[in-house]
Structure formats: structure tokens, C-alpha cells
């Protein structure tokens, strides 16, 4: 027998191994290994279960945390607004009633859902992972198929541990070249979205590959995958390798002992086979990439920090011209000028994109010995309580505080502005988060998305600043 096996991509291997059922005329039934739950997108799903008399099928595959509306000033529901507190208490009640483990507000391991999963070793290669949250794509950094779902689908997974899905297309994104100092994974993903647009990945699962990706740390890979959804992609993923295994080894929920060896052996089979077919392939040379910053009201409206804000009149497509005009009007920016040097009011370092210990270390190293510019508010919010403790053990909190910054407890905070941490109308922020949509960080607020390094440099200078200016030698 000389049977040839069709080469498969990382995505195809995971998809194929999770197919429960397929029949013509219906979507596939896909099994879900890990379901992450938070307070904002779950209440109506639990209500649905109650109304139908259903139970949670696999409480052992379901994990909950609270992160969106939680306070960062002190860990108490007493300081949360009435509606937010009601929603948080509803999550507590739902988890209790249905037997789901909740990392509650006072849990030392609590954090932003997409920070915690990897940190606890729950996120592993080859898994299917969902959450009622679009940034679930973060977990793809481990070679998992991870994507955001709506609340109806949250109910589906709670009840059946399965989802109805149509097979997405695949796109490989090769990032080639060695990053310059001061340029990070955040800049890579902002460059990709600027290139393909906020709808450029729609219908696709992206697989990030190439030398620049292989050289990224696990935390940087999470930053890259986190913003896949900002290109419209269903998911983003990276083949697991030694970097992945090294990160996972010894974590609480990672396999141990002989199980670990068997798991690694399995995970080594996951990377895409040579000759596997992708529906699209694109390549970005990042060897000359500069730090990126967004000027507009979606994450695709970004430029290298020394480039000029585009001019609407130069856009040939009327819809694009209108969108750019509207964005620049909201941002109150002049076309044809550089953002470099634009005054900022607030700098936010945090969110599931950039609040890991390496992000905080990088920002602290740049800020150390400097003061935050007068009139600028620096808010630093670690992604989890574990990260907060680690940062404090390293004295990073003291560096931020001595510079005049505000150091907080873990949560989503000013990325989504549901907990009172928000911009005032008209304020400009350099933010390490993932969305610069109108009003995202507070009604009327204006967001420049950038890396933690760019955010730190901008905090010191009080204006949008290239971090390389502070990184001499």
C-alpha cells in the first residue's frame, strides 16, 4: 500500500479531531474542550438554561472569572455601580447554582479571562477553546483553535459542550525578518491590520508563521494572536514549539510527569505539514518596521510612528474617504501631519493585549528614573492578580508609582471602560489595549493604540513619542 496522506494545516488537524458530527445541509458539530466564562456575556445564557431546564454538561471543562466590570482601585463589590454589581453577583449565583468554578473577586488567581487561561496552564496546544469574548483568539498562541462566540453560543456550549460551526478558510501570515529594538509583537499585529484592513481576515483562521513569529516569546505571541479579531479573523494561531512547551511546563493545569511527556509528543504532531494548503498566504517583512500607532477609529487605521496621518482627499474610494474624514473629525486630527508629538492626556498600560509581566517589565524599564509628564495620567493595570504580585515582587509597582503613575488591581479596566476607569470626552490616550473605536475607552474619548514601550515613552514625554528615543545604548 502506498497511500498518501493529504498534508494538513494546524487548523485542519484540530478541526478534524473535534468533529462530533457532520451532515449535508447543516453546520458541523464541533466539540469544545475549554469554555471560559465572564460576567458580561453569560447571564442570558444561564437564564436560557434555567428556562429550558438544562444543566451545564461539563463543569470540568468550564471556568469562570470576573474581569470586565470589576473595580481596580480595591477588590470590593461595594464600590461597583449598582448594575455592574448586580451582574457580578449574578455570575456568582450562576456559578454556584450550576457548579462552575469561579475565580471570584477575592481569588488570588483571578484576572482577565485571556490572561488567566494561559497562566494557569488551562490553555494548551490542540484544544478548542471558546469564550463569549472576541479576544479569545489570544489562546491561539499555543496552537489551540480559540475563538469568540455570542451569548446564544455560550448557552449552546454550556448545555452541550459543542457548537454549530461552518469550516472557516485558512490564511497563513508569514512575518519575516528580525525586529528592530523597540519594535514589538504589538507593532507587528498593528502593521498587519493596517495592511489587510479590519475586514481583511473575515471568514479566515489566521496562522502566524515565519522567522519573526518563531523568535517571539510566548507572551508576545499572545499579543499577536489577541488582535486577530481586529482584522476580522475567526481566530489566530501559532504552531506550538519549544517556546510553547517551556512556558507550559509545571503550570497548575498542565499535564505532569509521564502525562506531560505524552502530551508534548502529541503536541509535536500539531504543526502544519509541509505542503499543506492555505486558502491565502501573505508575507510581511518586519525587519524595517518602526513602532506603530493608530490615528483613527478602528485598529486598521494605523501608521508607523514617523509616518503621516493620511489625507482623505487622496483616497480614491468614496466610502474610504468618508470613513477617514469621519475618523479624523472624531479624533480632531489634521491629515498630512505626523502623530509624533501629539499631546496626550492619559496613558493606559493594560488589557488582554498587553498587561503581562513582560509588558510591565518593558514599560517599567523605560520609565525608570523618569517622571510622567505634568498633566498626564498614567494608569497601569496588570492582567491578573498573579502578575500584580509578581510585578510587586520585582518592584515594578514602585517604579510606576514613583514616576507618578497609578498602580491597580487586575481587570479589563480602561480597555472597555465598564468599571469607572475611563477617558473624559475629548481626552487623548495612548493605550496598549486593542480597540480605538469611538467611545471605547469612555464616551468622547480618543485612543491611540500602541505598544507598552510607546505608551511608556509617551507618558514620560506627555505626547506621542517613539520609544527608541529613550532606548539609547
Amino acid at each position: 500500500m502506498n497511500q498518501t496522506i493529504k498534508p494538513r494545516t494546524l487548523f485542519e488537524k484540530i478541526w478534524d479531531s473535534h468533529l462530533v458530527h457532520e451532515e449535508p445541509g447543516s453546520p458541523s458539530v464541533l466539540y469544545i474542550d475549554l469554555h471560559l466564562v465572564h460576567e458580561v456575556t453569560s447571564p442570558q445564557a444561564f437564564s436560557g438554561l434555567r428556562a429550558k431546564g438544562l444543566q451545564v454538561r461539563r463543569t470540568d471543562r468550564t471556568v469562570a472569572t470576573m474581569d470586565h466590570s470589576t473595580p481596580t482601585k480595591e477588590l470590593s463589590l461595594n464600590i461597583v455601580d449598582a448594575m455592574g454589581a448586580r451582574q457580578l453577583r449574578q455570575l456568582q449565583a450562576n456559578c454556584k447554582d450550576f457548579g462552575i468554578h469561579l475565580y471570584d473577586l477575592d481569588d488570588p488567581l483571578r484576572g482577565i479571562v485571556h490572561i488567566m487561561g494561559p497562566e494557569l496552564g488551562l490553555t494548551q496546544p490542540g484544544l478548542t477553546i471558546v469564550c463569549g469574548d472576541s479576544h479569545t483568539s489570544t489562546h491561539g498562541a499555543f496552537g489551540a483553535l480559540a475563538f469568540g462566540i455570542g451569548t446564544s453560543e455560550v448557552e449552546h456550549v454550556l448545555a452541550t459542550q459543542s457548537l454549530l460551526q461552518y469550516r472557516p478558510k485558512t490564511m497563513r501570515v508569514d512575518f519575516e525578518g528580525e525586529l528592530q529594538p523597540g519594535v514589538t509583537a504589538k507593532d507587528m499585529i498593528l502593521a498587519l491590520i493596517a495592511k489587510i484592513g479590519v475586514g481583511g481576515g473575515t471568514g479566515y483562521v489566521l496562522e502566524y508563521a515565519g522567522s519573526a513569529v518563531r523568535n517571539l516569546s510566548m507572551e508576545a505571541r499572545m499579543t499577536l494572536c489577541n488582535m486577530s479579531i481586529e482584522a476580522g479573523a475567526r481566530a489566530g494561531m501559532i504552531a506550538p514549539d519549544e517556546t510553547t512547551f517551556e512556558y507550559l511546563a509545571g503550570r497548575q493545569h498542565a499535564p505532569q510527569g509521564a502525562d506531560w511527556d505524552a502530551a508534548v509528543e502529541r503536541w509535536r504532531q500539531l504543526p502544519s505539514d509541509p505542503g499543506a494548503h492555505y486558502d491565502a498566504v501573505i508575507t510581511l517583512d518586519v525587519s524595517q518596521l518602526a513602532p506603530m500607532v493608530t490615528y483613527g477609529t478602528n485598529p486598521g487605521m494605523g501608521v508607523e510612528i514617523d509616518q503621516l496621518v493620511p489625507t482623505p482627499a487622496a483616497q480614491s474610494d468614496p466610502a474610504r474617504r468618508a470613513a477617514l474624514e469621519k475618523a479624523l473629525a472624531y479624533m480632531d486630527l489634521e491629515p498630512g501631519k505626523s502623530l509624533h508629538g501629539h499631546p496626550v492626556d492619559v496613558v493606559f498600560i493594560g488589557s488582554c493585549t498587553n498587561s503581562r509581566i513582560s509588558d510591565l517589565r518593558a514599560a517599567a524599564a523605560l520609565i525608570k528614573g523618569h517622571k510622567v509628564a505634568e498633566g498626564v495620567r498614567l494608569l497601569v493595570v496588570p492582567g491578573s492578580e498573579s502578575i500584580r504580585r509578581q510585578a510587586e515582587a520585582e518592584g515594578l509597582d514602585i517604579i510606576f508609582r514613583q514616576a507618578g503613575g497609578d498602580w491597580r488591581f487586575a481587570g479589563c479596566s480602561m480597555c472597555i471602560a465598564m468599571n469607572g476607569d475611563q477617558l473624559s470626552p475629548g481626552q487623548y490616550a495612548v493605550s496598549t489595549s486593542n480597540r480605538n473605536f469611538e467611545g471605547r475607552q469612555g464616551a468622547g474619548g480618543r485612543t491611540f493604540l500602541a505598544s507598552p514601550l510607546t505608551a511608556a515613552a509617551s507618558a514620560i514625554a506627555g505626547k506621542v513619542t517613539d520609544p527608541r528615543e529613550y532606548m539609547i545604548g
Binding site: 462530533v20 453546520p27 469574548d133 446564544s152 475586514g199 472597555i416 473605536f437 469611538e438
Partner: protein, 195 residues
């Protein structure tokens, strides 16, 4: 889920591209534990002036669109956050169908589960529909899901794609969870084989 069979309605034009779900319903409205009352937050950032009063320029505030049930909008509608509050808010306001050239994946999935029909049309149809809303603002079009067509006042019928499963669920007003629950034995067998 509310059944969707046919719909005859005026069209509300919202020509913006890349309308994200933070615009459809801002995060401050997401602290609810049910699905009702979200209509007041629909397009809140664009719909209200700084003093909180409705902006008379914004389409859904205009008297002529108060009973309209079709939204016509730009490319990549519903990008960003996975919040199902977006289709809940739209359906709560009275919108039953959205016409665009493309939809973000999660929004599209969410809409189909809430009796809200996303219709993708080609660029030429898209442009002619916007022209129609300018030339004859109160013109109505007919949507027939069974035949997957939008009938324009000119008599032209435009075909649109929808997957047969979602179509059946929409026409029958059937919750998709029912189908999944019927696969229980297969799910159990799958689990038994690998756990």
C-alpha cells in the same frame, strides 16, 4: 426566536463602513442580565447629542423611519466585540433585516440566532439601494426568505445567499440549540472515545 418569513419595509440608510459593535451598542449598556431595554442604547454614541437629546440628523431618530425594519449599511458591519447585545438592541428597536456587502463573522452568527436577517448584496445592488433611499426615501422593498430574494420597487428581484440550516431555523422560528441537543448521543460517544 421570532420567525422570519417575509418583510416589507422602508430602508434606513447608514452608509458607514466598518460599523463596530461598540457603535451598535456601547459597553456601558452591557451591564444587563436580560435582553430587554437595550433599544435605547442602539447607536447611542451617534444617536444622541452631548446633552443627551436625540440628534435629529441621525436616521433612526427621524420620524419617517420610526416603523422601518430594514437597515442598509456599509461593508463589514458588526466588526469588533462579540456582544450579542448588538442584535438584541437592533431587534429591540424593531430592525429585522440588515443589508450590507459584508458582515463580521460573530455578528452574523449572533444575528441569525435572534431572528435578524443579514443580507449580503453585491456592490452594484448596494449602491442602487443607497440611491433608492436618496431618491425615494420612503420606498419599501420586499424580502422573501423562502425564495431568498429582495424585490425592489423597480420590480427587480435580487437573490441573496443564506445557509440552508439558518434559513430553516429562521423560517420556523427555531432555536438552534434544539438541533445540538438532538446530537446528545453523538456528543456522548465522542466524549467516551477520548476522555
Amino acid at each position: 426566536m421570532q420567525s422570519f418569513t417575509t418583510l416589507t419595509s422602508k430602508i434606513i440608510p447608514l452608509p458607514n463602513n466598518d460599523v463596530d459593535t461598540d457603535q451598535i451598542i456601547p459597553a456601558r449598556y452591557l451591564k444587563v442580565t436580560d435582553k430587554v431595554g437595550l433599544a435605547e442604547g442602539l447607536f447611542a454614541g451617534w444617536r444622541y447629542l452631548a446633552d443627551g437629546s436625540p440628534d435629529p440628523e441621525f436616521p433612526i431618530n427621524q420620524e419617517r423611519y420610526q416603523n422601518a425594519q430594514i437597515l442598509l449599511t456599509g461593508d463589514n458591519f458588526g466588526c469588533g466585540s462579540s456582544r450579542e447585545h448588538a442584535p438584541w438592541a437592533m431587534a429591540g428597536w424593531g430592525i429585522r433585516a440588515v443589508i450590507s456587502t459584508s458582515f463580521a463573522d460573530i455578528f452574523r452568527n449572533n444575528a441569525l440566532k435572534n431572528g435578524l436577517l443579514p443580507i449580503v448584496v453585491d456592490d452594484a445592488t448596494h449602491t442602487s439601494l443607497f440611491d433608492l433611499t436618496e431618491e425615494v426615501p420612503l420606498a419599501a422593498v420586499d424580502i422573501d426568505l423562502a425564495s431568498q430574494t429582495v424585490s425592489l420597487p423597480s420590480g427587480e428581484k435580487v437573490f441573496f445567499e443564506i445557509d440552508p440550516f439558518s434559513k430553516t431555523c429562521l423560517i420556523g422560528g427555531v432555536d438552534q440549540l434544539g438541533y445540538l441537543l438532538k446530537q446528545e448521543d453523538k456528543i456522548a460517544a465522542f466524549e467516551a472515545a477520548r476522555d
